[in-house]
Amino acid sequence: MNLATVSFAYLRARALNTALNVLLLALGIATITLLLLTTSQLEERMQRDARGIDLVVGAKGSPMQIILSSIYHLDVPTGNVSLAQAREIAKHRMIKKTIPLALGDNYHGFRIVGTNPDYIAHYGARLAQGRLWQAPLEAVLGAEVAAETRLGIDATFIGAHGLSGAKGEHMHEARPYRVVGVLAATGTVADRIVLTDVSSVWAVHAEQYGIQDVARIAELMPDEEKEYTALLVQYASPLAAAVLPRYINNNSELQAASPAYETARLFSIIGVGVDVLRGFALVLIVAAGLSVFIALYNALLERRYDLAVMRTLGAGPRKLMALMLLEGLLLASIGAALGIALGHGLTEVVGMALTAAKQVAVTGWAWVNAELWLIVLALGVGVVAALLPAWRAYRTDIAGTLARG
């Protein structure tokens, strides 16, 4: 027998009311947990995907679209960059390195990215099976692509024009790809794409030139017909950030987009929605606190004889106060535990839905330190809601209460 037994017995005696309060609190906590988990994972993921890329250069258009299409592979490109333009950019003394990208097709919703081996090195990907491409139309699959499409080494597949993977897209049946390698998982965007040589993309789209010898496509195709979609750029010096974007935007027909700036802008746009949801969740938590307060206060009124009797049995006023506080705390901890569990469950469900849609992966099996603060907040709400009832319990007038009873 101890105070927790008594508190728990009282909570169980009002099971319906207890359940309601726990649920209210849990919903608020779960909503915030979901927001914390998804935003932190998305932010981390997007930062990881953009790490080491100082600038993306593409055709004139929306810089946000350039970032979404060239780094995250979530959007269609703005246009193309000719080989001559790309060479011009790469020559600039403030640029350390450029990685070319040629986009346009997908396989079952996974984008086919034509590039060079620098791209794989940039994301630190290692081969899990097979080898890198050595000829056009040889493909290396990202880890998730391989797992989901179940394509193995030497399997062939046909790319579809576009990005969505929806039915009705034009299929490039004449130029099937052959899988030569599979990458190990990196936890980056490289897991969700099909990688191949730039010339593969040219080959697939070069049907109209009548070039049959795919292996020699890079030689046979006239340079002025060769196009990239975008260039991933690494600066040679930090100074470049101040000079290069403006230089490119003003002196060429290309558009420079800064991943850092555009992702920050994206998050500030998403942030409004997140703030609204967070506000809503806080309202839920405050409502739960109020509801706990009303429940405890009513319980106190119902229980004033019990409390007086406990005093006659030898309980000091501090014990009665502790009893009420404990009850608030118990409610809050059950609510917090349930809320956190529910939040993680919801995040996992959302993550599964996102994975099915081949979007950025989110998992419920992760922990954010901010959740600790969330637990502290929930327990704080429980204690604050119990303060006045606890104080009233402390002040119980034993003789007066019993005389009236």
Binding site: V6, A13, G314
Partner: protein
């Protein structure tokens, strides 16, 4: 066993109780008689240490209650004094057994389930140990209330109007329970009542007068 001297109490300036001196031997059994409003409950509450008289001294088992700090008084009450209230007031969300264990816990005594079962058995309600108060008949609840009052082997057992609203047979039963339980733990028994039926059963009467 206890000694009251020059005891006075008043509510809002109206005197409700005035006891010049009352001394009681350990183990004796007393009736406090008087009509409604004569201060019986007030006297009982003062004896129980839950009400501070405005004047006079209360000494129980050689202990002057005024000399105790609040926390000491709470412990003293829990361990030395048992109270049966008119409206029983069992804790409704706890089982019969847990009501008794609660009395041990709140009195800062070690948990003693064997003692609790023994008391329930002596009051013939051992079978109800796992029941909740609302599942008991009034008679059973009354026995449990007595059990809770004596589970800590108090030196002083107080009962406030324990027999009002009871028929003659029940009245006799409850009186018998209190008497035997008090004797079993060698406690002094004080029953406050205006019930004339038990007057004949007890030798020691302390009569409070009616006030205007």
């Amino acid at each position: 066993m206890f000694l009251l001297q020059n005891l006075k109490h008043a509510y809002n300036g109206t005197e409700v109780l005035n006891v010049a001196a009352w001394q009681v031997e350990q183990g004796s059994q007393w009736l406090v008689l008087g009509p409604s409003g004569s201060g019986k409950t007030t006297l009982l509450h003062i004896l129980a240490g839950i009400l501070q008289p405005i004047a006079g001294s209360v000494s129980i088992a050689g202990q002057d209650l005024r000399a105790l700090k609040p926390a000491e008084l709470d412990r003293f009450r829990g361990q030395r004094i048992g109270i049966v209230l008119q409206r029983l007031h069992l804790v409704p969300s706890l089982t019969v057994m847990n009501n008794l264990l609660l009395a041990q816990y709140l009195a800062s005594l070690p948990e003693d389930g064997a003692r609790a079962r023994e008391v329930l058995a002596s009051l013939d309600v051992a079978a109800k140990a796992g029941a909740y108060p609302h599942e008991l008949s009034f008679g059973q609840a009354q026995r449990v209330a007595v059990a809770r009052a004596v589970v800590n082997r108090p030196k002083l057992l107080l009962a406030d109007e324990p027999t009002s609203n009871l028929d003659d047979e029940r009245c006799a039963q409850v009186y018998g329970l209190l008497e035997s339980q008090a004797r079993a733990c060698d406690a002094t028994l004080v029953i406050a009542t205006h019930d004339q039926r038990i007057k004949a059963r007890m030798r020691n009467h302390y009569v409070l007068g009616a006030r205007a």
